[in-house]
Each structure stands twice: as structure tokens, then as C-alpha cells.
């Protein structure tokens, strides 16, 4: 077994808000191996995006703060790095793609200058060399007529093309890790398929790891090797992708899988939605945060918080009743 590329250990990220302290990420630990596609899934407010921003060192402080834990990337603890050294890693060895490409690109700079910028900064390439490389990158991400595109501004491109530019930018310095935070959520399905295939291709060519953050269980099923399911700031289940769908061991995972309609199901196949609402992070229930919505909850779940434990090789679950859940499924 190769050493993991990214090791997140007991990460705690908090935000101070008017309503009190929000534990957006609460004791999260997981590893991403070299060359693998790892997906973090969950609904809004579960902490998946904050986890990604914590890795990138992009938590706005104040109001946010990483209060404890460690993030080890390729043997280096990112949290102890001075900001200067973190800047050298960000955008160079770790690339990131966000949901909204229009607001991530600078509207007043040409595509060429935006693409060449990371190359000039991180790789010390001269202007002409960087521009040539930028053109290669545009070709790589499948945008036709790269010579014209180089001179254009972001508003002249379609949403899918902008996201391709974001990928080109993130891949410019051949990062070892690419983080895609809801990168295809704003796109139409036919474009979404193109962009995800492209991300899979470019990372597999360079051997980079891909961390996909999404709420879409279909995307996870298609691309991910391993998955972490988050709910209310905590990881609830970490599993091989195929195993997660075949044998979900956490009640929330079970509920989530039964909530999504399937394209290949018969018409009117019943859905079993999870009852209740996602809890307010400033006012979480005692014990396991999922207990008010959980059909398996016992008294213990209302008092104590379960921690993530290995239930079988390759699978970790945070639930006192996971054995009962596993039997029922």
C-alpha cells in the first residue's frame, strides 16, 4: 500500500456567527491516496466545502478558524506552514476548481494572461514560454480554436468553456491533487458529463489525485473510488464507492440513497425520504446529530456522539447501531 497523499486528521474548523459558534467541520479524518478519486458527499451545510477550503488554507479568518487537527500533504503539515510557503503549494501542487467559473475568473483579464499567470509565478516561466504553454493547456482541455480563445475575455465563453479554462488553470502546474468543489453543479447535464470526463482524463494522465465535492450521488457512483459521507460537520461513513451503494452501513447513507429517484427505475417506484429537516448548526441535537431523523436511533444516540470506527476493511462508520443497520439493508 502506498503512502496516502493527503491525510486529514481530527480537523476542526469553526465559524463565529451571531447565533453562536458553528462547528462547520467537527473532528473530520480521512485520507486520499495518490492517483485515486475521492468524493465527499453531503447536503448543504454538512461541511464538505469548508473541508476543501481548510485544505487549501482559504478559510477566511475572522470569522473562521481551524481550531485543531492536522492536514498532511505529501508528508508536510499544511497547517504549520507559514503563509508564504502555503502560497507556493496552493495553485501549484494543489489545484482547485469552484462551482461558479464566472466569479472565479477575472473578468477584465484575457484568458491568456490568466492562464499564464500561475506558470510565471510558480514555474518562473518567461512571458512567451508561458503563453505557449497556456495555448497547449487550452488544447488539452478540448477548447477548439485556441489561438482566438487566448485573446478573449471570460464573458465571451460559455459556462462549459469557462469551466474548461478553470481546469486548464488548475492543471497548469501539474498539481498532485485537484479539488473540484461542486464544479459541475451549475452546468447542464450534457456539459456536466463532458467536464467530469475531462477532469478524470487529465488527472489520470498526470497521476494526480482528484477530490470531488458534490451532492450528486450519481456523479459519485460514476467516478469515485472511495467516498466520505458528511452530515452536520462530521464524516458519517467512509467506504469504497461500490461498497457504499451495495451495503450502506450508516442510517443517513441509507436514507440518502433511498431519497434519490433513479433514471432506470420503473415509474412510480416509491421514494423513502428521510423525515425532518437538516438541523441548524448553531443548535445541534444532543448526541448523534442525525438522531431526530433516524429510524434506528436508540437512547444512547440521544446522549453520546458516535465516532468513526472501522467496521470492515475499507469501511468506517460512525453509528452505534451500524450492525443492526447492516442487517436490515
Amino acid at each position: 500500500m502506498t503512502e496516502a497523499l493527503l491525510k486529514v486528521k481530527n480537523l476542526h474548523t469553526e465559524f463565529r456567527t451571531e447565533g453562536g459558534i458553528v462547528k462547520a467541520v467537527d473532528d473530520v479524518s480521512f485520507e486520499v491516496n495518490a492517483g485515486e478519486i475521492f468524493a465527499l458527499v453531503g447536503e448543504s451545510g454538512c461541511g464538505k466545502s469548508v473541508t476543501a477550503l481548510s485544505i487549501m488554507g482559504l478559510i477566511p479568518n475572522p470569522p473562521g478558524e481551524i481550531t485543531s487537527g492536522s492536514i498532511e500533504f505529501d508528508g508536510v503539515d499544511l497547517l504549520s506552514l507559514p503563509s508564504r510557503e502555503m502560497r507556493a503549494i496552493r495553485g501549484s501542487r494543489i489545484g482547485m476548481i469552484f462551482q461558479e467559473p464566472m466569479s472565479s475568473l477575472n473578468p477584465v483579464l484575457t484568458i491568456e494572461s490568466q492562464l499564464a499567470e500561475p506558470l510565471k509565478i510558480h514555474e518562473n516561466l518567461s512571458g512567451n514560454v508561458a503563453n505557449d504553454r497556456a495555448k497547449e493547456l487550452i488544447d488539452m482541455v478540448g477548447i477548439p480554436d485556441s489561438a482566438t480563445r487566448m485573446k478573449q475575455y471570460p464573458h465571451e465563453l460559455s459556462g462549459g468553456q469557462r469551466q474548461r479554462i478553470m481546469i486548464a488553470m488548475a492543471m497548469a502546474c501539474s498539481p498532485q491533487l485537484l479539488i473540484a468543489d461542486e464544479a459541475t453543479t451549475a452546468l447542464d447535464v450534457t456539459i456536466q458529463a463532458q467536464i467530469l470526463d475531462l477532469m478524470q482524463d487529465v488527472t489520470s494522465q498526470t497521476g494526480a489525485s482528484l477530490l470531488i465535492i458534490t451532492h450528486n450521488l450519481g456523479i459519485v457512483a460514476r467516478y469515485a473510488d472511495r467516498v466520505g459521507v458528511m452530515y452536520a460537520g462530521k464524516l458519517r461513513e467512509v467506504s469504497d464507492a461500490s461498497d457504499l451503494y451495495a451495503e450502506p452501513h450508516h442510517p443517513y447513507t441509507v436514507g440518502l440513497l433511498q431519497s434519490v429517484p433513479r433514471l432506470d427505475a420503473d415509474k412510480g417506484s416509491p421514494l423513502s425520504p428521510i423525515a425532518g429537516e437538516i438541523p441548524d448548526l448553531t443548535d445541534l441535537p444532543e448526541g448523534c446529530a442525525f438522531n431526530p431523523r433516524c429510524e434506528w436511533a436508540v437512547d444512547k444516540c440521544r446522549i453520546e456522539q458516535p465516532t468513526l470506527e472501522e467496521t470492515k476493511p475499507g469501511k468506517q462508520v460512525a453509528c452505534f447501531e451500524h450492525e443492526t443497520v447492516a442487517l436490515r439493508v
Partner: protein, 342 residues
């Protein structure tokens, strides 16, 4: 197309058999204007361009398509929310596009609408109870105010909201609860048709399922007919009896939902369905997929001939010249493609 041949009375004799809603050659073309004070028309966006759809009583028609396909515009045109429609929209035998204002108001009692954005579509200064009561006041459905209050409470029960929440304001509710208020408001005047425009796309997965289940239950209990507009093909699969697939203002394929989903015929439908990942790795990783090249063309400047020709994997010369007309197949399906023939 003007309508003189069939009188409304004739059609309303047997409302259960005919379609509750029918559009014929519906066209909604928006002029594109330029200039600050003296504007001139520089082009036209054919948001909906010659669409024929039918919805039978008690059934759900799923209208799917990607952005710019015209699905939302079509939904709004049925309530005449954009006044540039041409062609025919018939609701229970009545021609909607020619109705005078007073009768149009009466028609709006029978057609309810549920919007996508549960934040933007509720007045923040009104209580949930007042929001649901308002359509009944506008349409003067009840004489007595206490009757309205009773009906509001009944509607709160129907959509799964606690009666005590009636005095709260929209910001005190979650997204899912707000969508329930929106549904209660749409149901208030007792409609027979509900137009749902992306009613769950702003919601989280677990909440989406709750709202879809509510739609399922209402259809059973209240014998509602739905026009369900959505881009999420899996959800449309779950709710629809029939389905119409739109692309750049035109219907590419429509028919029985089971037929279309199991055996899509139009190259666009095939590609669209294969682009949607199935949440099951065992199935998903074995699927044959058609990944379309390129982007959706601008509706300002759609391709000549078949609008899908720029991305179609099987397009031939003819597709770049001639617009394919919808042809009806033996299973009742309608497909607009030169390469698919009955």
C-alpha cells in the same frame, strides 16, 4: 392558428376523455432590441418555436430540457405570463390566448403554479397563512373570512405544515417548508392543473424526496394534472406519465414516459439520458454512454435545419438544410428527426 371550429361547450361535455391542456404550433418569439431611447429590433429569440403538447386528465407531463430549451417559457405561456404568444393553447377546450381579462382571471383559479425559488416567490412581509389565503381573497372564493381561515388550515394539513406555523413569516421557514407554502398557495383556489417549474431543484436531496412524495400524494388525493418542468431527468422519470424533450425551442421527442426512457429514439434524447449518472456504481460503470461534443448554441442564432445538428453524432447533409417535422410512430410517440422514421 385561430380557433373557431370547436365551441368551448362542445368540448366541455366530455372533459374526462379529451386532453385537459393542448398547445398547437405554439410560438413565443421575443424581439431583441438595441438602442437607448429609440429602440430597434435587431433580432428575435425563438424561445418556443412551434410546439404541440397534450396533457390528459389526471396525468403528468414531464417537460425536460437543458438551459435555453424554452421549457420555462412554455409553462409561463399557458398562464399568459408572457404576452407574445402565437398559435393555440387550449385548456379544457377553451382557447386561452384569446380570453378576455375577466375570464383569464377565472382561468387562473383552475391552473396553479409552483415556482422554483422558494425564497423569491413568497412575499417576505406576509405571514404564511396570509400568503395561502391571498388567492382565495383575490378570486373571491369565500364570502366569510372564517371559511377562508378554515380552508387555510386544511391546506396546511394537506401539505404537511403545522397549523401553528400560519402566523410565521417566510424567513422563519426552511427551503422545504417554504416550498410547501408555495404548493398550498397554488392549491388554494382549487386548481385542476398545476404547472410546476423546477419545483425541487433548489432543495437538498433528502428534502427533494419529501416534496416529490407530496406531489405524488396530491395527484392521488386531488386528481390533479401536472405539467412538471425540470432539468433533472431522474426526477421527471419518477413523476411523469408522458414526457416531452425540448431543445432550443423545439420538441425533439415526446411520448409515453416508459417508452421514451427505456428506448429513446431521438439522438438528443439518447445523449441526454446517457449523460445522467445512475446512483449505482455496478450499473453506472457498465453503461454505454454518448457524450455530446460542443455547447448548446445561442438561441439568438440557432443552427439552420435541425437545431440539434451542431452536436448530433448522426447528422447528415439533409439535417443542415431541412427542419425535421415531428412524425408520429406506432406507439404514439412523436419524434422530430430525419434519421428516425416510422
Amino acid at each position: 392558428m385561430s380557433t373557431t371550429a370547436v365551441s368551448p361547450e362542445q368540448q366541455s361535455i366530455k372533459p374526462e376523455t379529451g386532453p385537459i391542456l393542448e398547445t398547437r404550433q405554439l410560438k413565443i418569439h421575443f424581439p431583441v432590441k438595441r438602442g437607448l431611447i429609440i429602440q430597434r429590433t435587431v433580432g428575435v429569440v425563438k424561445a418556443v418555436d412551434g410546439v404541440d403538447i397534450q396533457i390528459k386528465h389526471g396525468e403528468t407531463l414531464g417537460l425536460v430540457g437543458e438551459s435555453g430549451s424554452g421549457k420555462t417559457t412554455l409553462g409561463r405561456a399557458i398562464l399568459r405570463l408572457n404576452d407574445v404568444a402565437d398559435g393555440s393553447v387550449r385548456f379544457e377546450g377553451q382557447e386561452v390566448l384569446e380570453l378576455p381579462g375577466r375570464e383569464m382571471r377565472r382561468l387562473r383559479q383552475k391552473i396553479g403554479m409552483v415556482f422554483q425559488d422558494p425564497y423569491g416567490s413568497l412575499n417576505p412581509r406576509m405571514t404564511a397563512g396570509n400568503i395561502v389565503a391571498e388567492p382565495m381573497l383575490v378570486h373571491k372564493i369565500f364570502k366569510d373570512r372564517s371559511e377562508i381561515t378554515d380552508r387555510v388550515m386544511e391546506l396546511f394539513d394537506t401539505v404537511g405544515l403545522n397549523r401553528s406555523m400560519a402566523t410565521r413569516y417566510p424567513h422563519e421557514f426552511s427551503g422545504g417548508q417554504r416550498q410547501r407554502i408555495g404548493i398550498a398557495r397554488a392549491l388554494a383556489p382549487g386548481p385542476s392543473l398545476l404547472i410546476c417549474d423546477e419545483p425541487v431543484s433548489a432543495l437538498d436531496v433528502s428534502i427533494q424526496a419529501q416534496i416529490i412524495s407530496l406531489f405524488d400524494r396530491l395527484k392521488e388525493e386531488q386528481k390533479l394534472t401536472y405539467l412538471f418542468i425540470a432539468h433533472d431527468l431522474s426526477i421527471v422519470r419518477h413523476v411523469s406519465d408522458s414526457v416531452a424533450v425540448m431543445y432550443l425551442g423545439k420538441v425533439m421527442e415526446q411520448g409515453n414516459a416508459d417508452d421514451v426512457y427505456r428506448n429513446p429514439q431521438h439522438p438528443y434524447t439518447k445523449a441526454l439520458l446517457s449523460a445522467v449518472p445512475i446512483p449505482d456504481p455496478k450499473v453506472e460503470r457498465k453503461r454505454d454512454r454518448v457524450v455530446l461534443k460542443g455547447d448548446i448554441p445561442s438561441p439568438l442564432n440557432p443552427p439552420k435545419g435541425c437545431v440539434f445538428n451542431t452536436r448530433c453524432p448522426v447528422a447528415e447533409d439533409r439535417c443542415f438544410v431541412e427542419v425535421p417535422l415531428p412524425q408520429t410512430f406506432s406507439d404514439g410517440r412523436q419524434i422530430a428527426c430525419h434519421k428516425v422514421n416510422p
